[in-house]
Amino acid sequence: MMAVRQINLSVIGSSVTPKAMNDSAEHQQLSQWLISVAEQRDKLAFSELFKFFAPKILRIAKTKIGSEAQASEVVQETMSNVWRKAHLFDAQKGAATTWVYTVMRNVTFDLLRKVKSNREDTLSDDIWPIAEQSAADDELFEDHLASNNIMSVIETLPENQQQVIKGFYFMEMSQEQLANHLGLPLGTIKSRLRLALAKLKAQLGADHD
C-alpha cells in the first residue's frame, strides 16, 4: 500500500508543475478566481478554473491511471472539491496550481484505494448524488494546509456543485443579473424573491391552482 502511494506521489507530483505556470500574472489570475469562488461562489470564475484545469487534470490522470472513465472521475471529483473547498485555499501558502493539484492527488489516492478494496458498491447510486456525502472530506487537505487551517464545518452546496461537475451551462440568472435586467437594486430583487416565495408557499398551502 505504501509503495503504491509513493509511486503515485512522485509520478503525479513531477508532472504537475506546469512550465507555463512560471508566469506570475497567470498565477495571480488563478488565485483570484479561486478567491472569487470561495467568497462569492462565482460561477464564471469557476468556469475559468474548470477550463484551465480540467484538460490538464484529465491528461495527467489518464496517463497515471490508464482508464479513461476513471480519469474523468478524477476530473469531476477534483473540480467538485475545488468548488466546495475553495475557501480553504490560502494564497499566502502556495500557488493555486499547487493547491488544485494537491486536491487532485488526494482524489486520485481515494480512487486508487477504492479500486484496490474492490468495493462491492460499484453500482452505488450516484444517480442520487445529493444523498452522497464523502466521509473522507475532512482529511482532504492535510497535505497542503496545516491542520490548524482545516475548518471543522464544511460548507456544502450540493446543487451548485452538481451543476458544476456535470458541466451544466448556467442558464439560470444570478440575482445580480436579474437586478441589472430589471434596473433595480439588488436588495429589491432579494426581497421580491423572498416575498414571492413566501406568498407562493402560503398559497399552495391553501389550495391548488
Binding site: Q76, I130, F168, H181
Partner: protein
Amino acid sequence: MKLPIFPLPVFLLPQGITRLRIFEQRYLNMVKLATKAQGFAILSTATNAQKGERNLASWVDIINFDQDEQGVLVIDVKCKQLVTLSELIVDKDNLHHGDITHVEHWPERMHDDKTSHLSMSLLKVFEDNKLLTDMYQSGFKDNANWVIARWLELLPINLEDKMMFANQHSFKAAKQFVQNIVLPEK
C-alpha cells in the same frame, strides 16, 4: 420503453432547452444511445422530493452538437415532456436506465395583459443573452405557457422551490409568482 438517465439538478419544463458538456464515458455512451433511439431523461436531483413528483425527469431530445475548445462534447437538449422514472437498471458502464411514464404539464393558456408584459420582458433577456439566443435557434415563442416556463427556468430560486411548478395545476401560481418578481408592483 427504457431511457438512459442523466442526473442533473436542473429545472427544465417542456420546450425548455439547456446546454450540457459531456465528458464522462458513460454519458458519452448515453448520447450515442440517445441519438440512435429516443433521447434521454434528465433526472432532476432535487433534495426535497416531497414538493414535486418523485423521480420526475425531463425527457429530452438532442437538438444540437458541438465541441468546445478542449474538444469536449457539447450538446443542446430540448425537453419534449415531463416523465417519471421507474424500474431503474444499471448497465455495465454504470449508466442508469428507467421506464418512463408521461406526466401532464400545464394545459395551453391564452396570453393576457400580464403574460404579454412578461413576454416582452423575457424577449429582452433573450436579446441580451448570446447563449440563450444561440440555443433557442427555433426562436422565441410568444405564448403564455412558453413565456412563464422560460421565466421560471431563468429565475434565481432554489431547484426545490422550482419543482413545485412541475405540477400540472400550477400555472396560475407560476404566473403570479413570476409576476411578483418581474413586474412592477403597480
